[in-house]
Symmetry: C3
Subunit: 645 residues, 3 copies
């Protein structure tokens, strides 16, 4: 199903009815509204104006459109901020982050929590049982503009409470953090500061707890909204629109309180701005299509975050916020929409209905131009709507491959990279690209999530192995491949007493006695299966009674296996992973492909989809018996085919 | 005529007379003094000491030298700042900009305005009718060191008043800025903040008004000084010394209150520091000459700002403030001086008489060395003085080509570049270089300035077309070439209801329905006149009933013409502009040249000047009948020739 | 002798005895302890706990180990900072530098000085006569994390007092700084601010005095500690552990109050992080060995700082703080240790005994792993200890070559580089590398230090020639080579009245009339001894009655000589210096070598050492009669040989 984001408050009322009619004509079913409209809903302190929203919803309803109503908390009005400056967040440099754009609040502000309760209650009470309201969106894009972490007085107070609750006694905290080092010991929780603006880096355990706290504050703030909505709006789903790779908070945790995950997909901007790392050469090649693995990575991630998921904002044309904002190649809006559906999206909703000719996003395209004419995206959306009419999409099944995605791993390696090029993001991306270029479908699983039923599992890097994670790793027949630094940290961000991989060593008897981080250009090689692979970035020294599966050229063991567990004691490149994971997949009975650049596959039930991000026609890897239900054996450039197998 | 900047307060009194004598011997006529001497003029609050200045002026007068007296406002003394800390400016990061160098004041400080009135009145009263005082300079280099915009409490109060005066009602402001977006609506003018330190970018309309306000504050501050001087110093000219490309304020507006524009020309520093964009290869080639178009660009700009203009500070040797400070190639001080005269300068004044061996500029060369010996520049200045004796310079005539230079365009595209490489500066520079390499003389015209009498006009980019601009564009027979984004904005920084080019579409019936900004390396091509041109950066989609003059290789129209109006729907390179503007110029009966690198032409009345920035002798493109009045047909490296035609 | 840094407070008490025993077994003699333990020594205000330290020292003593006791002042505890926030430093941007890591104090805080007196007195009283305490270390790594200069209210007050003491009258200061420029004149010392956060750069004389003041504050703070220790701990040596190239304070001055200099040697981190400039190619080549001249440079520097010197912290494995942290090549820990001894170190002490598995440095290797097993460094240290048993090291003799190292020169050129690439560090490094690749031993001499007995002296750049310096330069028979800008400044950071080289011109009659700083790529050439040398960065114009020894290709003189004095009027490359200094050395009867990359020589008494940083065996340049006392004629990769000659 398709939807759109709409801002009735931006347009004259006499246009609303026509807008609604044309949405229906386009084939849209859902309309998200309201999430930035606080100044219109409460123009003066305590004076509410719902009349316009009543009419807007009624107008959409009249055309049979379903509404997703956003709470307006990403943008508190100026009068509220002026009355309560303690709402504002503080950046890492200690500067107040002022009113004048959006997300100008700290999750830890008690005042803001109170006013959030107030506004959400009023809105939920009014619209909770409206027949047009199908669901709710809390706030908008948590964490956008680096707003997860704030460094002000309210944050400090909340952080101290969080620590007190976690550790109970200051002695326990001192021991957990190792504060005897550099005389960092505290006598009371009141002595603890935030970890920013220290003379040199603060204790990494201090940072890690601050990251965890900040993530928890997002979840708590979201839960605060959810509980009110559930009370007044029974039977409606609740979602939040997440963003492209934003590891600052644990999305799994936030989503525990949601019914539906959703995310905002801007393939061109993400490719230009390195939301996931894209080489310069790929940035040029995919400037007008986006990198072929970027949307899929997020579709799979957010399907892992929640089985029911949407694309809440789908790029419909050039955007305004990247360093470069080209026009999508013709056909790409349709392709992106279909790809989301192939990966299991319930709804793909375009952002936005019409380009608004003022303010910050005035150059962000919509389905319609600011002169009220349909833009390119309108026609491509309509095409998808029509194509969908003839096609029933089967339910999404479990994939054969699991990727254990670990937000905490991002924090740990970001706080203490040890080598400049070691980032969790890049490592996960290598694993994902390798799997996708083999034509394999991938499920993202949270640490501790069940791995039953998978044939292959990859854990790119999980420094901290919590009890639940260990248990899940044990309860699977899958071949499990662990990346470097897995098990290298205790829960308190220390080195395990038995050295890495810590608790994992009970099942995979190896011991990492030393690690090296390497400057780009300081390379090493390893040989596996008669083939030589070069890498850099990271290398580990392992002691074990096992014989290594592969060796570095200095004779040390590079790859270790015991039963179904495999450990990579180095930074694996895509080339190596494609070979090794392909080999394991085949051994596990999975068919793999050697997909050419730009071609990607995905199954949904009995349907197989092929997407061609490249500029030339490519042949779909379909069996001769395949029955094509959309497109054909030759997949056109920037096009797709679907077949039954 | 020639002049020099002099600081008698830096030198022992017993040297003044000899200095004055040697100035005369060098052939200098004007001496600028006083602009940094507040601590000597008012050493204690309210206690003035004019005795030294009386004597200094008398000494210069005795040698027949004319004085340009600078008001000392760029450097208020410490005691004044300590008494009134509200004088200080605040930077964009919110930090106070402290005393200890210069320009340590905010234009919006009411205290500083009052003290400016006080000191300027006293000085103007004392020297206003002195026979040696030929003119005045207000302050020094407005905007230097990023001082146009300030972000403190005084600035905020003044900004609110400015907005109140402009919009009358807060509703009007909210509508103009589109503040319904992201709930940015204000209830009163007191709710408005400055646009810095917001969570993400502030409303571009907010920024644009803040830029306009800041520019207006410069003009108001200058006017405050001018009015006092006019009252007490009748018959003297008033100038201000502007800088190399400094778009932060509207120089046309400031100059409305002046008699003479002047500017400070440092060709080597400007080339090294990218005051105008210079490729790395050109930086090396022109390290000791400066880029051949940089001085001329500014001469033409400031002649457009005011018909009477000077070079107030001419580089006489190595300076101290660039990243690299080489010595000018022998002859360059002479060449630069002559080039300024060729472009119409009344006076070229060297900075400074003698290198001061202390403080910030101790490594800034003067005409004399700190050991009191003449430096290289002295001899080159003297040579020009002697050459000038035998030559009467005719008045400067209107050029055949007009370039509409638009400060607001710089602000609009800087606030909202939409593509990282799109800067107004670079675009204007492309047009200017193309025209100059064709051997064409160029006048800079302000938006709304008359275009009558020109054969060719270029508007590199004017997003906001004010009424007067439209009128001027209509009242000319010139071929008019518009660059991309012209007409793309309303006065309130929105998209025009009819889409770009907005009001221009009434005369040039096209409609820009989409724009693309492109990463370097994402290129496109167009074909015109049988030739293929490649470009990048920016590309527009145009709808029109017209047939395009040239097409992109994707078949869309790239270049549109109607009557005498031409529109470039892309980022034009110098190569393309040289071809297209040369073609139009020829069609309009103008002779063009294909000047080799480093050779540049300029006419003044019946005289034609050729300047050779290159290291090899070059032949002047003079007719066989040309009569050379300086130099000859072969222009030596770093030299010039002048002939009558 | 060998030592180690140990933190008993990090480990269970029941492990101390075994640790001590194994230290002895390893062959270690000294143990540094205590320097970060304030929170354990005074866990509550005024309540001291020495019991643990008593026992720790007793335990070490029992194994015959000698203790170097560190004062715990680099890490005041949180309770002290909370009681006296004026202890904290302020960074250049005006931000408080908070508690949470180390070095969180300003040298100018009167409160901190008082508490330093208090804690040092208590500790010195208690342990001053302990038989196991052989010496003391004051604080730890002064200046680390950019802590030499602080910009807070306490610093301002102290700076004003320092200025008052230096200048006596404000008129004298105004004259010395040239404050008439830009009306920067002060009426009282109370008007003076710190030079940060000015609108554009502050007066360089203002900066230079602030740099001098900040350096003096370090020396005064150190002296404060030293005087207390001397009072209560007679007969013990006092040291401080300096760092890799840290020019912010004058180490010669601080060391005047010490008995022993020591420094912390981390060859791999220093190579990766450009502590001295290393090309990208060398960074790769020497990633696991460190650049071969980096340890030696510092050994020679700190031997110049104090004849008795130690390496207090020797890298024993990968560290945690560089951008990349590779493992040292096998053998390098041994090589580095021997090289320090060859250069005259009394003791080489490893950092640290055991890797601590928590807090900031948890990935910093020690001699032992966190799982209590010996790490690679342990075995290499033990090997050195055994090798040392059979070998008596003779005293260190004066080297034939002196390098005058001038901290103030770093400040002057950093404050006013005049050309972006001109840094004192790079220039000194060029001289040092040239000398060392010729196989020459080098002594570092402070400005004004005696040059008697040297055959060759180099003064890479000493802009300010104090009286004592001039005197020392005059009292030597050495050939003296001066680099550019020597003598170019007065004591007040002005240009000398007679132009550069100022006072030096009395003996070397030249006059620098102009300088040029050049963009990389703007090259010049000079010819000397039939060979052409290319350079960039810096070039001077010299007037003299002398005939130049070498000329630039523009005909000006490049190299000037008079008697034993030589002046380089340009930025000298390593290639040129190797040729010219080698020529002078040979003329002075010194043997030079053309050492291959990675091979380095050093003599200590009758012993000659060869160190091979390269990956291949190399032949030692030993005479056929040489008697090898360690290793042999072929020096293995990452190994060394020692012979008697
Ligand atoms: Zn969004
Ligand atoms: Zn100037
Ligand atoms: Zn250290």
């Amino acid at each position: 199903m398709l939807g759109v984001c709409y801002y009735p408050e931006h347009w004259p009322r006499d246009r609303w009815a026509e807008d609604a009619r044309r949405m229906r004509e386009c084939g849209l079913s859902y309309v998200r509204i309201g999430e930035f409209s606080w100044s219109r809903l409460e123009p003066e302190p305590g004076r509410f104006d719902f009349e316009w929203l009543d009419q807007a919803i009624a107008t959409l309803h009249a055309e049979g459109l379903q509404v997703v109503l956003g709470t307006p908390t990403p943008t508190p009005p100026k009068w509220l901020v002026d009355r309560h400056p303690d709402i504002l967040a503080t950046d890492r440099e200690g500067r107040l982050r002022k009113f004048g754009s959006r997300r100008h609040y700290s999750f830890s502000s008690r005042t803001y929590q109170a006013h959030t309760r107030r506004i959400v209650t009023v809105i939920a009470q009014r619209y909770g049982n409206h027949p047009a309201v199908a669901g709710w969106q809390t706030d908008n894009e948590y964490g956008c503009h680096d707003t997860t972490r704030s460094y002000g007085p309210e944050d400090l107070l909340a952080f101290r409470e969080w620590l007190r609750a976690k550790y109970g006694s200051i002695e326990a905290l001192n021991a957990a953090w190792g504060n005897v080092f550099w005389s960092m010991e505290y006598r009371t929780f009141e002595e603890i500061d935030l970890p920013n603006l220290t003379v040199t880096e603060a204790n990494p355990a201090h940072w890690l707890d601050f990251y965890r706290f900040s993530s928890d504050q997002v979840a708590a703030y979201n839960k605060l909204q959810v509980e009110i909505i559930r009370q007044y709006s029974p039977g409606r789903f609740i979602t939040h629109n997440f963003m492209g790779y934003t590891p600052d908070f644990d999305h799994f945790k936030v989503a525990e309180d949601l019914d539906v995950a959703s995310w905002d997909s801007y393939p061109l901007g993400f490719t230009d701005m390195d939301v996931l790392p894209v080489s310069e050469e790929e940035k040029l090649r995919y400037a007008r299509t986006g990198h072929p693995d970027i949307p899929a990575f997020h579709h799979d991630l957010y399907r892992g975050v929640k089985p029911r998921w949407w694309v809440m904002e789908q790029q419909p044309g050039p955007v305004n916020w990247a360093a470069h904002n080209p026009s999508p190649a013709p056909g790409m809006v349709r392709l992106w929409t279909w790809e989301a559906l192939a990966h299991g999206a319930e709804v793909v909703s375009y952002f936005r209905w019409r380009q608004f000719p003022q303010a910050q996003e005035q150059k962000h395209a919509g389905l319609n131009r600011p002169d009220f004419q349909p833009d390119v995206g309108y026609w491509e959306a309509q095409q998808v709507a029509r194509e969908l009419e003839g096609l029933e999409l089967p339910p999404t099944q479990q994939a054969p491959v699991a990727l254990v995605f670990d937000y905490e791993a991002d924090w740990v390696t970001r706080i203490q990279p040890q080598g400049r090029e070691f980032t969790y993001r890049d490592l996960v991306w290598n694993f994902y690209q390798a799997l996708r270029s083999l034509g394999l479908d991938v499920d993202f699983v949270k640490p501790g999530g069940s791995l039953e039923g998978y044939r292959l599992g990859v854990v790119p890097c999980s420094p901290i192995l919590h009890e639940a994670t260990i248990r899940a790793l044990h309860n699977t027949q899958a071949q499990l491949v662990f990346g470097p630094r897995t098990g290298s940290k205790t829960e308190s961000m220390g080195i395990p007493p038995n050295l890495p991989p810590g608790k994992l060593a009970e099942w995979l008897p190896i011991r990492v006695t030393r690690v090296e981080s390497l400057r780009p250009g300081v390379n090493f090689a390893l040989e596996w299966n008669g083939q030589r692979y070069t890498s850099s970035v990271w290398k580990e020294w392992v002691e074990s009674d096992l014989a290594p599966v592969a060796k570095f050229d200095d004779g040390r063991g590079a790859l270790w296996q015991h039963d179904n567990l495999h450990y990579l004691a180095f930074w694996p490149t895509v080339a190596f992973l494609r070979a090794y994971l392909g080999h394991l997949a085949n051994r596990q009975g999975l068919q793999t492909f050697s997909l050419s650049e730009g071609l990607r596959l995905r199954r949904r039930g009995h349907l197989t989809f092929a997407f061609n991000y490249g500029p030339h026609e490519q042949q779909a890897p379909a069996s001769p018996q395949a029955r094509f239900v959309l497109g054909g054996r030759m997949v056109p450039p920037h096009g797709l085919s679907i077949w039954e197998s």
